[in-house]
Amino acid sequence: MAVTRSTIKPMTTHSAPTPSVPPQGASVETGLESLAATGVQFTVIDAIRNNRPFTPAVHETILEQDAIVEVKDFSLHYGPSKALHNISMPVPRGKVTALIGPSGCGKSTLLRSVNRLNDLIDSVRVTGEILLEKSPVYAPNVDVIELRKHTGMVFQKSNPFPMSIFENVVYPLRIDGEKRKSVLKDACERALRGSALWEEVKDRLNESGLSLSGGQQQRLCIARAIAAEPEVLLMDEPCSALDPIATLRIEELINEISKRFTVLIVTHNMQQAARVSDYTAFMYLGRLVEYGPTAEIFQNPRLPETEQYVTGRFG
């Protein structure tokens, strides 16, 4: 596994930032037409197109793992439109799990459902459940603020707050009411070392977080996300706005971080998924299509749709 991650050099320099909820439109249709030309039978995609039930191909090795997050029969609506369709998947503890799929397939939505960031949108309705450490995330008595403290999040575009580097990193502790200078300092150093930024910024912790370069800003955001020692780190296309070198550093960082945290990462870039993740889930039009160890998904997928997608023939 580790060999796969490190031997493949980044190929795609820059993938266009994708909106988290794009309209399901022309690009998907074109993908299907090109598929039809290959002459292979695509039963799952046919089922999805015709809204027929189907069983996603979930590899058995995953089910044997200890799951930290369990998604069970989870559906999500934005107002009248359904964005996620009965998704069931466990996320193994201490591993990197990648969500891949074409734009608008609901991978970001699924990711943001784990820490209930979708609550910010008024029209969101959910059914089914997501368990974090065996406790339901969507139970009525759940303290959302507490939940989000257990799930750090890194966003597509780096979003350092308009404050000093130090304050950026200790933000989760500050809002938790932590005032002891020594605790804050320790947490700041630990988090910055964890995000491989300490050596670069240790002498200018009081400068604005916005004075850093793009890649540094994203690592600052990662430091912020891990400062509160979350159980799961959610990453929503963390490299999509970065140049190749910054991307490489973030990917190396993800490898480091995965030793301490469970990482769930959404990526638009299949090479990146192949490089950084232990497990990969392929989603399409709000459904889970195939989910298994990354090596199998990329080298020996069970469904022809997955093969077509990971080899870049549609999507």
């Binding site: 820490n115 209930r116 960031l117 979708n118 609550d119 910010l120 008024d122 969101v124 309705r125 959910v126 969507y138 009525p140 959302v144 603020i145 507490e146 939940l147 989000r148 403290k149 750090g152 999040m153 966003f155 575009k157 780096s158 979003n159 707050f161 308009p162 404050m163 933000y171 989760p172 500050r174 809002i175 938790d176 604005s208 916005l210 004075s211 850093l212 370069s213 793009g214 800003q217 955001c221 912020r224 996300a225 509160a228 959610l234």
Partner: protein
Amino acid sequence: MTHADPHNQPQKRPRRTPLAARGEPMVWLTGACLSVCLLMIAGLLAAVLVQGSVTFWQPRIHQFTVADGSVVMGVPVREEAYDAVGEELAAIHAARDAGALPDGSLHADGRPIRRLYRVGNREVYGEPFRWVSLYTIQNFETPARATLLERREWGVWVGMPQSVVREDLRPAPAEGEAFEAEGFATIEGEGGARRVERAVVQTPDGPRLRERVFIAEGPDAALSALQRLLPQALERWRRIHHLNQAAIGEINHELERERLRHREVELRHAEGRVTDAALGASLARRDARLAELREEYRHVEAEVAEIDREDARWRFVIVEPTHGRFAPVRQTEPDEFMRLSQIVRAVPANDLDLAGRLGVYFSRWGEFLGGQPREANTAGGVFPVIFCTVLLTILLSIVVVPLGVIAALYLREYAKQGLIVSAVRVAVNNLAGVPSIVYGVFGLGFFCYTLGRYIDAGPTVVWPKSNWLLGVVGLLVLTAGAVVAGFLARPVPGQPVARRARILAWSGGLLWLGAVALLVALFARSPFFHGFYRARLPSPTFGAKGLLWSALTLALLTLPVVIVATEEAISAVPRTLREGSYGCGASKWQTIQRIVLPRAAPGIMTGAILAMARGAGEVAPLMLVGAVKLAPELPFSSRFPFIHVERSFMHLGFHIYDVGFQSPDSEASRPLAWTTTLLLIVIIAVLNLTAISLRARLRRRFVTGAF
């Protein structure tokens, strides 16, 4: 057919792109429009700057003889060509044909030119300004030692100084006893003999022998003696002024306080809350205190009288050229020389070099900025006006900024975006377009006459005590119900809003409305509140024009500006920042407090600047709710609580209107109106620049680095 069908011919393309297509005319049009705007603004500013800054420049004093043979001395103000008619026109033509017209007395179009002279000397001439046709001027000169006196009252005096006189009143000689009417005396410290005049005069205390010692005679000696003696005279005037204002003001204040204290006891006695004995004690205490204060008053009065006697000895003789009359101490006593202390500034305009002129110029500016207004605002300074204007602006900012920001926060962050919020937003935007005088009427009706009167005298109609207490219970029930309903109606994220929750939410809102209405009613009908200032009635304290009500009215007027600017600033905070904060586990309020507000601060500052600028320049509502021509007691004093928000005040905007259009002497006050305008513009510019630099400093924190 050699000619083909024209429709089949390939269309000939024009060789050049048409002008309209290239868009050059639009560049010209937009550029021209901007130029017009800039020219108007620059023209206005230039006019204000030039007119406002020449006000205090002292031109030379002219003296000449006019057609009727009388001598005129005055300061030129401006010139204009006018249409001469009848005999005058014939006379001009005759003189022109005879070649007897001086150069420059006719305009290029043949009309005669006249010049406005400030001649002053209102007691003698009646009119302090006089138009003089240039062709009538003869024997023109700018005499040395001609002096313009700025006096504390009755405007300027233009004339030739003659002497400085020391006057003493001595006991009148017995009937028939002879005295030396003229003679010479040696004055201590003055050196040499001085001419002395003696006469018996009638005073309120009976006949007295008045002895006038001419300390300095002749223009040169008089002027130098004046320069030497004037500081002492000013000091005496200041002393009297201080005693009258501060010491007697303090005694009056104490008198009033004692009267009010006793009046309050009387009112309580009438309500049966104070015993007869206590009332008697209060009365005795009041009388004792009043006697004490009257004694103090007599002391101060005696002190003032003593200084005034000394002050009355020092006189100045300055003679106007037309009738040869000297400046009198007051119009009703034309035979008495004016006192030295009546002079604010003596300007021998024709003897001044550039440095001297500049000295006069800046001395006048100093008086303007730091002094009190004189002569119905046509002279003197505007310090209290500046102070009140700045105070008002600060007060209104203190009120409007928090109110507007909090309201905008609710509208943008907490309220569910829907029809009602949109309606509120449209209403707020429309408020910005309501004519400001409407706010003035509202402020007068609501703040002054309703709220102010309530503070003064308490409610006019009261509920019986039992009903009122029942109302308090009802208020508690309503509030508790509203809180419970709101709590139960909280939406569950991810779940559709239940019908039950919707009904609960609505009823919670209605309960809040009811609770607030009941709270207001309880205040308005309280049987336990009798007002804070009822002893002072019927004269109002808060129930009249005042600084506080003006600040509140202007706050209301500028509220839409702040709300709109804040809403825009808040909504411009990137969503990614909020999500980042939520993702760290921050609650909504923590996100607002730590991320949204700091990030929106420059935009909020912009709104505050706009509100301040609008508020500081507003006049119409202030005429109704607070600004007066001359505030007898300014809203600040050395007495606790230092800022008296219930008092009326003076305002630069209103001052411009008053000086420019309500002045008894419009020619004299015209330059001052320009200068006051200049000052108002400068003050607003300074306020704005301060706020802008503050905003720039805030903004610098959010400048992104690389990327």
